[in-house]
Symmetry: C2
Subunit: 353 residues, 2 copies
Amino acid sequence: MAQQEARQRRPSIHDVASHAGVSAATVSKVLAGVATVKPENAQRVLDAVERLAYRVDPLASDMRRAKRRIIGAIMPEFESEFFGQMVTELEGLAEQRGYTLVAASSRESEAREKEILARMHDWRVAGVVLAPVRNEHGPAAAFMKANGMTGVLIDRVLSDDAFDTVSADSAAASAQVARMLVGKGHKHILIIGLAEGAATVRARLEGFRTQALALDPSIRIDVITSEVSVEPLRSSLRDYFGRGERPTAVYSLLLKGTLVALSEFRRRGWHCPNDISLVGFDDAEWMQVTWPAIAAVVQPVRQIASEAMNLLFRRVEGAVGPPTARLEPCQVLERESVGSPGNGPHSGGGDRQ
Amino acid sequence: MAQQEARQRRPSIHDVASHAGVSAATVSKVLAGVATVKPENAQRVLDAVERLAYRVDPLASDMRRAKRRIIGAIMPEFESEFFGQMVTELEGLAEQRGYTLVAASSRESEAREKEILARMHDWRVAGVVLAPVRNEHGPAAAFMKANGMTGVLIDRVLSDDAFDTVSADSAAASAQVARMLVGKGHKHILIIGLAEGAATVRARLEGFRTQALALDPSIRIDVITSEVSVEPLRSSLRDYFGRGERPTAVYSLLLKGTLVALSEFRRRGWHCPNDISLVGFDDAEWMQVTWPAIAAVVQPVRQIASEAMNLLFRRVEGAVGPPTARLEPCQVLERESVGSPGNGPHSGGGDRQ
DNA sequence: CAAGAACGAAAAATCGATTTATCGATTAGA
DNA sequence: TCTAATCGATAAATCGATTTTTCGTTCTTG
C-alpha cells in the first residue's frame, strides 16, 4: 500500500525535509549549495534525497523567479537538414546551462510566428532564438520588442536595432561562388531564389553580382526570384529556359531552388556540368552521393548556434549595450556540378572525380 | 513610471480581479467558463482582461494539477526529413489540444534517451511520444514503466506489453518491394541495414525474404548489416563488392544505407538502373530530382503522428485496457532506380523517363 | 558576567494560478 | 415569521519550490 503510494506521488521537498528531520528551507539550501548549513544536516538531507530518489520540480522551482529556465526556439521549419541541425545544437547548448529548450515551427508563416511568440511569452521564457520567416522587420520581432522580451535573431537576418543577430556571411560566400564560376570562364549566369523580402537574399545577390562584375564587367547575370513559394519559381524557370535562354551556370540562393533547378535540368535532359553548371546555397548530405555531386555553400550551423546562445545568455544575465550583428563565415564546396562552359552539350556522362 | 512598470511586470490574475472589482477566484471561473457567475461580473472581468491584455500563466496554471499540459517528444534525431516532419506534426496536434510540445533529440543514444525521459518526468509531462533508438525493450521504456508514465512508442517498435505502439507496416512494404524486384526478374538481391537490434529491421528483412522466396525459391538474398553506425556498413559493402559479388539489385532498409549504397555505386562508376537497381526504405525530397530518381518506401508520417497522439490522449484522459499495436501502411514509389537486370553493364547514361 | 555579534535553522511570505470551504444575501418552504 | 435552501462570490488552502524574516543558541568581548 505504502509502496504503491510512493510510486504514485512524487516526493516533494517537504517529504525530504521530514525524512531528514529538517525544514524545507534547509533542503533547498543544501541543494542550492549554500554554505550556511551544518555538514551533519547537509549529509542527512543528501541521504534522504538519495533514499527517496528526490528531484526538484523545475516548474515549481521556476515559479518564483521572473525569468524561467526555459529557452524558446522558433524555426521556419524542421524538415530541412539546416534547421534540424540547428535545433539539435541549440538544444544541447541550452541543456548545458541547465535550461530546457522548447522548439516550435512557424511553418513559414509570419502569423504563426507571432502566435508562437505570444505563447512563449506566456511561458515567461528567459530568452528566444528566433529564425524569422522573412527578416528582422517582421511582426514577430516587433512583438518581442513591444513586450520587452530578450532574444537573438538568426539566419534570415542581417542586423537589428534591438536584438543581436547571427547569420551566415552570405555576401562573402556568394562572392566566393562568383570567383569560382567566373574563374571557370562562365559569362552568362542565372541566379534563382525566393526573395522573401529578405535582406539575406539581397546580400547573396549583391555579393555575387558585385564580385562577378568586378572580375569581368561584360558578364551577364540573370535573376529569377519568386516572392511567395517555390512553385512560381519553378514555372518561371521553365519559361526562362523555354524561351531559349542558355546560361552556362545556375546559382541557387537556397536549397529548395537547387532542387527545382535539378528537376528542371532533368526535364530537359541536361547533365551537370557538361550542359550546365550548378551551385546551391545550403549543403545537404545527399549532394555528395548524387551523380554529379552538387557544389554547395555550407552554412556554419554549429558556429551560428553557439554564437547565438552565447549572445542570448549574455543578455539573459543582464548585459546591456548596443546589439551586435555577427556574420559567420561559410565554406564553399566545389563539387562536380561545376565545370567550365563550352564543353559542348551532351558530351557523355563519363565525368568522374 | 507607472507605464514602465506596467510594461515590465506582466499582469497577474489579481490585477485583473482588482480592475474588475471582483476576486481572483471569480476571474478564474470566468476564464474557465464556469456558469455560476453573474453575467454582469463576467463582462467586467472580460473587459479587464482585454484592457490589461491579460493571459494566463500556463506554468502557474499547471502547478496544481498532477498532469501538466505538456507533451514530451523524444526522437533519435532531428536532421532527417522523417523525424523533422514527425516533430512538426506532433507539435501541431498537441497544440490543437491546448498542450505544449517539448521535443528533444536522443542523438541515437540510449543513455541520453533515458536522461531526457527523467527530465520530462521532472516536468510532470502528461504524456510522452517516444521514438526509441533501438526498440521497445530499451531502458527508456523501462524507465517509463517503472515511473508510471503514460506514453506511446513509435517508429522502431512493433508491439509492447505496457505501451501503445504505432509504426509503419515495414513487413508489408518490404513484401511489396520484393514483388517489385522479383517481378522485374532480379535473382540476386542484396539487403543492407543497420540492425539496431530492432524488431522493425527484422520485420523488414523477413517481410522481404518471405515474399521473395515465395515468388521464386531459387532467389539469392545476401544481407549486410552493421550493429553500430553507418561506417562499418560502408566498409562491409565495399568489401562485398570488392570480392566480386554482383547482385542485380540492392534494397536498403534505411535512409542512411541508401546514401551509402549510392556513394559506393559512385566509387565504382555504376549507374542505376543499368548496372544495378536500388530501392530504399524512407523517402526524401531529393530522391525525385536526382538522376536517376530513387525508388523508395514512403512512411506515412502524418498517419503515424495522428494515431500516436490519439492513443496518447486517450490514455492521458484515463483510458485503460491492453495496449494496442498499430501498423500504418506505407506507399512504395517505383522510380527510375529500379529496372530489369541484364541490360548489361555501362550501357550508357541515356536512360531518361 | 552581561551585552552583542555570529551562526544555523525554522517559520513565513511569495510566485500565479485553481479549487474548496465559507459566508452573506436572497428566495422558498413550513 | 422563522428556518432552510439556493445562489453568487469571497476568503483561504493548495501546488512545490525559493527567499526573506525571525528566532534561539553559542561564541565573543568589554
